[in-house]
């Protein structure tokens, strides 16, 4: 589903952000990306949703290649992805409902469908009664749920979350994480970059640790290597 082949990203001013990474991510997988700040997690995720193109190598997501994709191809790909950020990125002058509907409007979905779909996804993230609230009237956890609802509204096959709990307290973090697990159990793959080691330790999900642009640990490889060692 996502194939990253010998991918590097070099910025002219700051140097190498990602250094020759190769990875495969299967359908429906839940993957944690962890590592210190500047390890290259966010750059790698940005290359998955093609906000950045690799300097070398190829990222292939559901048939779209970073080497050949046009801006129209990228737009079409993003309609099949859900993207969530640490800072929520909600439009302050729009209500929760309008923020979510926004993602459907750009795809040209009919207005009648948008209405029902938005209320369903709001219920799914536990904000059934807060559709008409503006972001400033919601807590951090609730704002992140709205952002997740916006990411889910197009029924994506993968949800990319870059530090989604970075601005949240423990309780809200647990709530948001639980929501991501539920989404994953419905068949949507989740790629989540996080600093929160507690969160990772308590889970059985695949964990990829990065440092200085390279993968230094991939639990999937270790599991695969274990039988060989034994």
């Amino acid at each position: 589903m996502i194939r990253i082949t010998h991918v590097s990203k070099v910025y002219p001013r700051t140097g190498t952000a990602v250094d020759d990474i190769s990875l495969n991510i299967a359908k429906g997988e839940f993957v944690f990306f962890t590592g210190p700040s500047g390890a290259g997690k966010s750059t790698l995720l940005r290359m998955v949703y093609m906000d950045e193109r690799p300097t070398n190598g190829e990222v292939r997501v559901s048939g779209t290649s970073s080497v050949t994709a046009t801006s129209r191809d990228v737009a079409k790909l993003r309609r099949k992805l859900g993207i969530v950020f640490q800072d929520f990125r909600l439009l302050e002058n729009r209500t929760a409902e309008q923020n979510i509907a926004f993602a459907l409007e750009v795809t040209g979905a009919p207005q009648s469908y948008i209405g029902t779909r938005v209320s369903r996804v709001l219920t799914q993230v536990g904000l059934g009664g807060k559709g008409t609230a503006y972001p400033r009237e919601l807590s951090g956890g609730e704002q992140q749920r709205v952002a997740i609802a916006r990411a889910l509204v197009n029924d994506p096959f993968v949800l990319i979350a870059d530090e989604p709990t970075g601005n949240l307290d423990d309780r809200a973090t647990r709530g948001v994480f639980q929501l991501l697990r539920e989404i994953n159990s419905g068949g949507t793959a989740v790629l989540m970059a996080t600093h929160n080691l507690d969160l990772i330790r308590r889970q059985e999900f695949r964990t990829i640790e990065m440092n200085r642009g390279a993968v230094v640990f991939d639990s999937a490889e270790q599991h695969a290597a274990k039988p060989a060692e034994g």
Binding site: S71, L77, R78, L81, R89, L91
Partner: protein, 282 residues
């Protein structure tokens, strides 16, 4: 389209000050352009009036019969460059000279002035070269003594006209360019004010065309509104000039509509440029 128009209206409502500022800026740059246009139009009008007076006067030799003059007249009016020709008899020439001299009319008491064929050329055929060519043809009649057409002043008039045209094109082009830059900058402000929205639109899969459309419509509407305001300002200014200084001419309907179209085009191009540049960066 419906979405784009709705977005434009929302844009105007959300940032009324910025929208008003854009429209006013566009209006003032087009107003400067309009004033310049008005000056150019009136200079041209004055030159056209002067040009209207271009006339070839072919003096007929003494003793020429009216039949000979009639034949020459019949030939001359058939020249493609000629608008009309008039036979002026000796008596008519004298009467005209006395009329033109007013209080000094006594000077012509008992004088004999030559008869002539006065030739007026069609508009577009009054340039020095054509006037010279037609004069030469007229002069070829054996009974034509002399041909006068004010060679000097026609050449000066045309030189002035050429200078006015070149100055018009250069200044007009400069004004248009300045207007476009100012409009581009104001639309850029509108684009930057919505940068966050644009980046989110891109993240959720909006195509560049989808993002661009409302800005292009907004730019065009602002261009038209700015154009209307500029037209009103120009009209008022012209009224004041008319009242306190000299009689001037205003744009006709065709030029007015062209002006509005020009405003719309400036808005459209300015927006396309600003949004395009922004989309290439994000």
């Amino acid at each position: 389209m419906q979405r784009s128009v709705r977005d434009v209206l929302i844009g105007f409502r959300r940032a009324p000050l910025l929208s008003m500022l854009s429209v006013t800026t566009i209006a003032f740059s087009l107003f400067a352009f309009g004033l310049f246009g008005l000056v150019a139009l009136n200079i041209r009008q004055a030159l056209d009036k002067l040009e209207d007076r271009v006339e070839i006067r072919a003096f007929v030799a003494e003793g020429t019969t009216p039949e000979q003059m009639g034949i020459a007249y019949g030939d001359i009016v058939k020249y493609p460059e000629v608008q009309k020709a008039v036979i002026v008899t000796q008596q008519q020439a004298l009467a005209r000279a006395q009329r033109e001299l007013g209080e000094f009319r006594d000077v012509f008491e008992g004088a004999v002035l030559p008869a002539s064929i006065d030739v007026r050329l069609k508009p577009g055929a009054r340039d020095p070269a054509t006037v010279k060519r037609v004069s030469a043809r007229v002069r070829a009649f054996s009974f034509i003594d002399d041909v006068r057409y004010g060679e000097d002043w026609i050449e000066k008039l045309y030189a002035l006209r050429n200078v006015a045209s070149v100055a018009g094109i250069v200044l007009g082009g400069t004004f248009a360019l300045v207007s476009m830059i100012i409009i581009g900058a104001t639309i850029r402000m509108a684009v930057l004010a919505r940068a966050e929205e644009i980046s989110i639109m891109k993240l959720v899969g909006a195509t560049d065309g989808y993002i661009r459309k409302p800005f292009l419509i907004e730019g065009t509407i602002k261009g038209i509104m700015g154009g209307l305001l500029a037209l009103l300002l120009t009209y008022i200014t012209r009224g004041l000039i008319d009242k306190y200084f000299i009689q001037t001419m205003f744009f006709d309907t065709r030029i007015t509509l062209l002006g509005l179209l020009f405003g719309a085009m400036l808005g459209f191009v300015g927006s396309a440029f600003s949004v395009g540049r922004h989309l290439n960066r994000v």
